[in-house]
């Protein structure tokens, strides 16, 4: 479980911090372990992820998966990001994840997808 790639991302997280003037800012919690992830995203033309950063607290799986996710979604269209699944995250982590830690593994993806949903509802209203 504590493979090198996980520890590498946990100890030196990529894209950590906060994007200035974000289009999307969203935070989620995992009450079971007290993990938290906040994502800030700047969009290009309201469609593509130009910049994404995260800050959070929690176990290595939750923080490493957030770090990995920010790497792969950069420059992607948000329609594509909406289609990412649990399997995509598990492929990134590349370690077996049991049912108890699944919430930790998926926290970052849930945060991003829910953040996009809220952004879309908000822009549609305008």
């Amino acid at each position: 479980m504590y493979a090198e790639n996980i520890m590498d991302h946990f100890n030196s997280p990529r894209n950590s911090g906060e994007v200035k003037d974000p289009d999307i800012k969203h935070k989620e919690f995992n009450p079971f372990c007290g993990d938290q992830i906040e994502l800030t995203v700047k969009l290009r033309n309201g469609k593509e992820i130009q910049e994404i950063k995260f800050q959070g607290k929690g176990c290595s799986i939750s923080q490493a998966s957030a770090s990995m996710l920010t790497e792969i979604v950069k420059n992607k269209n948000i329609e594509e990001v909406k289609k990412l699944t649990k399997e995509d995250i598990l492929d990134l982590l590349n370690i077996p994840i049991g049912p108890v830690r699944m919430k930790c593994a998926l926290l970052a993806l849930d945060t991003l997808q829910n953040g996009i949903k809220i952004y879309e509802q908000y822009t549609k209203k305008k």
Binding site: M1, Y2, M7, N11, F32, C33, G34, D35, G58, C59, S60, I61, R101, C104
Partner: protein
């Protein structure tokens, strides 16, 4: 009895976890079961199974007799009378029975309930509920920085308006053993009733409800080598409490135009068909504990706690919560290590076959008091060895290494 003989009674201790021998240190969550208990339940289903207090046939008489014999054993185990022993589902249901059957009926606006910051949610939320429904005040006694109950604070909070004092005998996080006898004297001075949460005490040390001087005592079978699904509620004076779960078995008379007449205690509290096999299994559990002896169990755990505390304190970056004097604590050791998330710690220990509990252990008020989100907890029982404490220590050294602390 030799520890090897005891370990031999527990079939699960032979299994491997992740290729390593199981080191089960999550006893405060639930304990393992000896074959004597498993066999008693199996034997009941194979030879005696019938509902109790209902049939006139042979099986029903045998099962009723075995069920009531378990009650007698449990009563004797804590120095109570059988009519003072109510079987519930667990400690949580036992405490709720008092909150609903006594608290909601007798506690009024302006009254006070006194508890402590180290309580399990099971001995905290029921009193918040009574507070909400009655308008009573809930007062919370603090702890010292060593994790001991601040007795002078508790004494100051106790007044003539205090209707009920509810305190755990042993903290499931700090391990602290609270001076329940002294607390009982404070309660008596104010004419308050006294409830003891014995979930972490009854499994590990001799309990005498008469000497303790409590009005209510709650504990769970599953934490003391017995089956899940059985809890105990001792009520000193059962007439003071109304039944909380009413239905089959709880009445003497039922009318369509006036109120029912309740059965005598304990039956008025045990609505519906109880977990008969579980109660019978719990009777076998009490026999098993008596055979070893509660004094001996306490002594074994004190030794192992002292040994484990000494070793754990030498680990780099470790913070241990609760009193450091093993005589003041049960065999529960909660800790954090090097700012590493407890889930990571527990997962690495699991890869070594070691079972510990990460999280808040249902003690959110205590977590806030300690200013932490979560911790890891190792808890020992009669079948744990010093060697297993050593395995825990090596596991934690590995955690430090993986996280480069």
């Amino acid at each position: 009895m030799l520890i090897d003989e005891i370990r031999n009674d527990f079939p699960i201790l032979k299994r491997k976890v992740n290729g390593k021998p199981l080191v089960y240190l999550d006893n405060a969550a639930t304990s393992q079961k000896p074959k004597q208990v498993i066999d008693a339940i199996k034997n009941f289903y194979e030879t005696q199974n019938a509902n109790i207090h209902r049939g006139i046939h042979q099986l029903s008489e045998e099962s009723t007799e075995a069920f009531e014999r378990s009650r007698e054993k449990v009563a004797k185990f804590i120095s109570a009378k059988p009519e003072q022993i109510i079987f519930t589902k667990n400690t949580t249901e036992s405490i709720n029975t008092i909150a609903y059957g006594y608290g909601l009926k007798n506690i009024k606006k302006g009254d006070e309930i006194l508890t402590t910051v180290m309580e399990h949610h099971s001995n905290f939320l029921p009193w918040q509920l009574v507070k909400k429904h009655t308008g009573a005040t809930l007062k919370i006694a603090d702890i010292t920085d060593d994790g001991l109950l601040k007795m002078n604070h508790l004494e100051k909070l106790a007044t003539k308006k205090t209707k009920l004092v509810a305190v755990t005998q042993v903290s499931n996080v700090l391990g602290t053993i609270n001076p329940v006898k002294e607390i009982s004297e404070i309660a008596q001075k104010n004419n308050s009733l006294f409830l003891v949460d014995g979930a972490q005490a009854a499994p590990h040390m001799p309990v005498d409800v008469k000497k303790t001087g409590c009005d209510f005592y709650a504990f769970s079978s599953h934490k003391m080598l017995g089956p899940t699904g059985i809890g105990v509620l001792y009520i000193k004076d059962p007439d003071k409490v109304d039944p909380f779960l009413v239905g089959g078995g709880t009445i003497k008379e039922v009318y369509t135009d006036k109120e029912a007449v309740w059965h005598d205690s304990p039956w008025k509290f045990e609505g519906g068909t109880p977990d008969v096999s579980g109660v019978i299994g719990f009777g076998a559990t009490v026999d098993y504990l008596n055979k070893i002896g509660m004094e001996k169990i306490r002594k074994h755990e004190e030794e192992i706690t002292k040994y484990a505390l000494d070793k754990l304190l030498k680990i780099k970056n470790i913070t241990i919560y609760g009193p450091m004097d093993h005589r003041l604590r049960g065999a529960v050791i909660a800790f954090n290590i090097g700012g590493i998330h407890p889930h990571d710690v527990a997962a690495i220990l699991d890869s070594e076959g070691i079972a510990v509990r990460p999280g808040h252990a249902c003690c959110k008020p205590l977590m806030s008091r300690l200013d932490i989100l979560a911790m890891c907890r190792a808890s020992f029982y009669i079948y744990n060895t010093k060697n297993e404490a050593d395995v825990l220590v090596s596991g934690l050294e590995k955690v430090n290494k993986i996280f480069k602390r």
